[in-house]
Symmetry: C2
Subunit: 241 residues, 2 copies
């Protein structure tokens, strides 16, 4: 049986691809973290939804695989893209124990891209995507990545920049970048992308360092060429104009 891992995009139902929506419509059971399941519940009446709290990813994925192996049409849903800090990797790791389940990943628009569109065009040149969550990654490795990405003048896009237990992680990250980049570097962040409460802020790296953001925030640190143009964050591609 095929098990689908589907990216829902940033939030609103109108940023889901036609392909992803078709897969969900053809599924009997849709499984995901409750916040994401709630985004699509109204658009997919009559389906069986199965949701678990945030920290139960392994149980959730195992349940999905079990159901698929018993012949059910199952989709696991993730916000953004299912392959960027999403469930696609874990599903592949767990599915090794089952010989009758084939996995298909259906892409969605990841927060790096949907947030960038709100801010302007921050990712028009090479960029690095780094999660500041140290639940599954040693903080040392996150620091090394911040250090190397800063040195090489990548635009940096930060996922999971904050949580209750990690309120000062964004500050720590900015301090590392500040060793290599001007405090005036153009930065931006977007909260609640594509929801009613969406908000976007453009600010300097120094200001970003002293800002508290919530966990539904995607942060962008510009490279040395990034500028603010008419209230938007823009990284030039390099055309001579």
């Amino acid at each position: 049986m095929k098990l689908f891992v589907v990216g829902l995009g940033p939030g609103g139902i109108d940023q889901i691809s036609k392909k992803a929506m078709k897969v969900l419509q053809e599924s009997e059971i849709i499984i995901g973290y409750i916040v994401y399941v709630d985004l699509i519940r109204d658009a997919l009446k009559g389906k069986t939804f199965y949701s678990t709290p945030m920290t139960q990813e392994i149980e959730r994925c195992r349940a999905a695989i079990e159901l698929a192996s018993k012949g059910k049409k199952v989709s696991v849903v993730c916000s953004g893209d299912a392959g960027v800090y999403g469930m696609a990797g874990l599903i592949y790791e767990l599915v090794q124990d089952y010989d009758n389940v084939e996995v298909e990943v259906v892409s969605g628009i990841t927060a790096a891209c949907s947030g960038a569109a709100v801010l302007g065009a921050p990712l028009t040149h090479d960029f690095a995507v780094i999660s500041l969550s140290d639940l599954l990654t040693p903080w040392d490795l996150i620091e090394t990545r911040l250090e190397c990405a800063s040195k090489a003048d990548f635009v940096i896009c930060l996922y999971n920049p904050s949580s209750r237990k990690r309120h000062d992680y964004l500050q720590k990250a900015c301090d590392i970048v500040l060793k290599h980049r001007s405090p005036k570097t153009v930065c931006g962040y977007v909260q609640n992308i594509d929801r009613e409460s969406e908000s976007a802020v453009i600010l300097t790296l120094q200001q970003l360092r002293d800002t508290n953001v919530n966990m539904y925030t995607t942060v962008y640190i510009g490279n040395s060429q990034t500028k603010e143009i008419q209230g938007k964050m823009v990284t030039p591609r390099g055309y001579s104009i």
Copy 2:
């Protein structure tokens, strides 16, 4: 007047978001590189299409802004996401000379994500996106980025890995990564994502070094944890299973 810069996703019409399709349907004129315009021509009968060859990005974007400033409803289309090596940045730079044109970027699924879904789940951990095209970026800077991304164990996603004039760039890039990573590192590439001729290959870093790919290829170099599971390229997120 509003000017839209729209990401079409990887190729097939069913991976465009509903929002992007609505914007295109409401546009009078759709402008883009001919290969991308051809992807949507059939689905959008009755529109005026304006396409130029690949190297005429500035002319194309200026024409779009001119038309929007005269009151036309215009969309500039890009493959993938309009903000990732797309036209969004250039449009913002050029639009500064016009005071009656407001830009809105509509995201799409970028090749990093759509190609990843074909290969499995290579981007489930921190990753760097690097274009190997040195048309607009000095090769030295590209080398520095490859070097730093390799050192910090980022998964690396390469755009524009090859062209007629740059047939050995992928080899050069792999040689840099090989200084920091095992020749057995799991890598993959996808050609013609989401088209009929789509093909995906998983191979080692050493094998990738000695492979010729065409310009419609997206390349993935795994991190030290990336593995091959049942013919798919998977980077674990770090769950203890």
